[in-house]
């Protein structure tokens, strides 16, 4: 081993307080990045996961400007002939004013989003039916599933209660329809249809006077990596129908652009934290240089060059960087494993989608390692400026 590296190691080992302080500074910097990543990327991925499961599927097909007027059955069948497609289902979105009377008290109208689903196809292409905690899905034409928030705002409606919805059809006429509540839907973190109501798609088409029209087709794949391929194949196959098709990544990108900016900002703050740990290393290294002034003078007197002194303290930075990056990454991985196991899900909160992003983990470790070395350059440079005579007078 190079004598400067050996001496650097000995100096640090005999200054355990300084070594532990410097290693902690690096480790905590890394841990902050890991915690940020697990929470915010986990949250983002969890939202994307639920968007895919409940609303968009792997591929989401709409019309550029209007409703899809091609037969939904024909489109679903077209998709389901492709081996990579597990299922496809039509959806139709609208809105209505809702009111209900409970225990003789009428709850005033307010507008709610209405989602029309084909219940038998939807349960194959989406998992929204699993969020129906009480009752069942909208298997009959006059049934409705209320979002838990809607049910609460309507005075605590339960399965079997009646609600009245007022729609405006395609010709501008009000259409009033009464439904029986067949289920209440509630989802972790409210990512499902907690703020909407779900009805049978044929009922909604009939009310809106949009027979054979569809708002969107949700396609679920058994191999999600083929999403772009399926999307492109679909668009090539229907070139003159003004279809718009998006993969879940594209749908999420446009829906969560602000969230992504937030993650970038949080990451930036994390890296600022890591930079401040570099300042801690500078301070600790300066203390070591100060406490080793006499030794530096002796080394210079017996022939060590400025370059040797520089390398000695840069080796210290390397040692701090290696130990700090290893400890910090280990702590980060332990935290990530814990988060992956528990999904950080508390009292019905959104279960995080925790993944090991190895390139990010490596990048964080390497960045902190590089920062530790960079942080040792200034103290090392200061050490080289010590004159042997002056340095040896220090006791």
């Amino acid at each position: 081993m190079d004598y400067r590296a050996q001496l650097a190691m000995r100096m640090l080992m005999n200054k355990k307080g300084s070594l532990i302080g410097a290693v902690l500074a690096v480790s905590i910097g890394i841990l902050v990045i890991h915690v940020n990543f697990v929470i915010f990327q986990g949250l983002y991925d969890a939202i994307v996961r639920d968007m895919k499961a409940y609303r968009f599927g792997d591929v989401y097909v709409t019309n550029e400007d209007d409703y899809i007027d091609k037969s939904a059955i024909a489109l679903v069948n077209w998709f389901e002939r492709i081996p990579y497609v597990e299922a496809a289902t039509p959806r139709l979105d609208s809105s209505a004013a809702i009111n209900a009377t409970k225990f003789g008290k009428r709850h005033e109208e307010f507008r709610v989003p209405v989602v029309g689903v084909d219940p038998f196809r939807d349960i194959q292409a989406s998992t929204i039916y699993t969020t129906v905690g009480d009752g069942q899905f909208v298997f009959s034409r006059n049934s409705i599933v209320l979002g838990s928030t809607i049910a609460r705002d309507l005075g605590g409606l339960q399965v079997g209660d009646n609600v009245e919805l007022k729609f405006v059809d395609r010709s501008g006429q009000n259409q009033i329809k009464r439904f029986i509540v067949s289920g209440i839907t509630t989802s972790a973190g409210g990512q499902g249809f907690d703020f909407s109501v779900i009805v049978h798609i044929d009922t909604l088409r009939s009310i809106l006077d949009r027979t054979d029209e569809t708002g969107a087709i949700i396609v679920k794949l058994n191999d999600p990596t083929k999403a772009t391929e399926i999307k492109d194949l679909f668009l090539r196959s229907f070139p003159s129908d003004d279809f718009k098709a998006e993969t879940i990544e594209e749908s999420a990108e446009s829906a969560l652009r602000g969230f992504r900016s937030g993650i970038a900002l949080i990451n930036l703050i994390g890296y600022f934290g890591m930079t401040s740990s570099a300042f801690a290393i500078v301070t600790i290294q300066m203390m070591i240089v100060s406490s080793k002034t006499r030794e530096i003078g002796v080394m210079r007197a017996i022939g060590a060059k400025r370059k040797d002194i520089l390398l000695l303290f840069i080796f210290q930075g390397i040692i701090i960087g290696v130990i700090g990056a290893t400890v910090g990454t280990a702590l980060g991985l332990v935290y990530t494993a814990y988060a992956k196991e528990t999904k950080l899900e508390f009292e019905g909160s959104l279960a995080l989608e925790v993944t090991y992003n190895w390139s990010k983990i490596a990048q964080t470790a390497l960045t902190s390692f590089a920062l530790a070395i960079a942080a040792s350059i200034y103290p090392a440079y200061r050490a080289t400026k010590l004159q042997p005579i002056e340095a040896m007078r220090t006791v």
């Binding site: 004598y3 001496l7 000995r10 017996i302 022939g303 006791v395």
Partner: protein, 230 residues
């Protein structure tokens, strides 16, 4: 070694201090030269310049025929490492290293590893510390530390060993041991020693003595102006 018209002035103008004044002398190989003088006479300043740890205001220092006056910092370091050995008043061992590692350090700086451990062990045996080689430097006594410092000074087989008050921090028994050790090294190895001390009596009979008074050098113990003879 040859020292020619060496001067060292600290400060400027009215506040200037002339620490060393026009000192010239030469040292023969194998000579044990004692530089004596009272505290503040300039003897340590002179030794620092001879040891290339401090630059003279003017004058020349030639070691093995090479003029060291205009050497760059890195060349001075190499020169100190290969041509000079140092023994300081406080042994100045590196407390993070063992006794053996301290002795090996000048050789490691030189990056010359052949026979290094054997040479260091032999030197430590010579100074009577073969049993202490793996002890940490801060776990040995002051007298032992000074003996390690002598071994460290000799490891690179320097032209000259410079010792600044080597017994100044020791009790009389340890001081006597160190003095005898240096004298025997000078005799057996033909090693040149320049020793600065204000404890002249501890050294008994030596090859030469130079007395420094008010920055001026005088041959012998009486303050008469020295004329250089080679």
């Amino acid at each position: 070694m040859e020292v020619k018209n060496l001067n060292k002035i600290y400060g400027e103008g009215d506040t200037a201090v002339h620490a060393v004044r026009d000192v010239s002398f030469s040292v023969k190989k194998g000579e044990l030269l004692l530089i004596v003088g009272s505290s503040g006479s300039g003897k340590s300043t002179l030794l620092n310049m001879i040891g290339l740890l401090d630059r003279p205001t003017n004058g020349k220092i030639l070691i093995d025929g090479s003029d060291t006056t205009n050497l760059k910092d890195s060349d001075l370091s190499s020169f100190r490492n290969s041509k000079l050995g140092f023994v300081f008043q406080f042994s100045n061992l590196l407390s993070d290293l063992t006794v053996l590692e301290n002795v090996l350090l000048p050789r490691k700086i030189q990056q010359s590893y052949d026979t290094a451990i054997a040479d260091a062990t032999k030197l430590l045996r010579t100074v009577g510390l073969e049993k202490e080689i793996h002890k940490r430097a801060n776990k040995i006594s002051g007298g032992q530390a000074q003996r390690v410092a002598i071994a460290r000074a000799l490891i690179n087989k320097p032209s000259i060993v410079l010792a600044d008050e080597p017994t100044g921090n020791l009790d009389s028994i340890n001081a006597e041991t160190i003095v005898q050790l240096m004298k025997s090294m000078a005799e057996k190895l033909g090693q040149t020693f320049i020793i600065v001390t204000h404890e002249r009596d501890q050294f008994g009979r030596v090859d030469r003595i130079i007395t420094i008074k008010d920055g001026r050098a005088f041959e012998g113990e009486e303050p008469r102006r020295m004329e250089v003879t080679v």
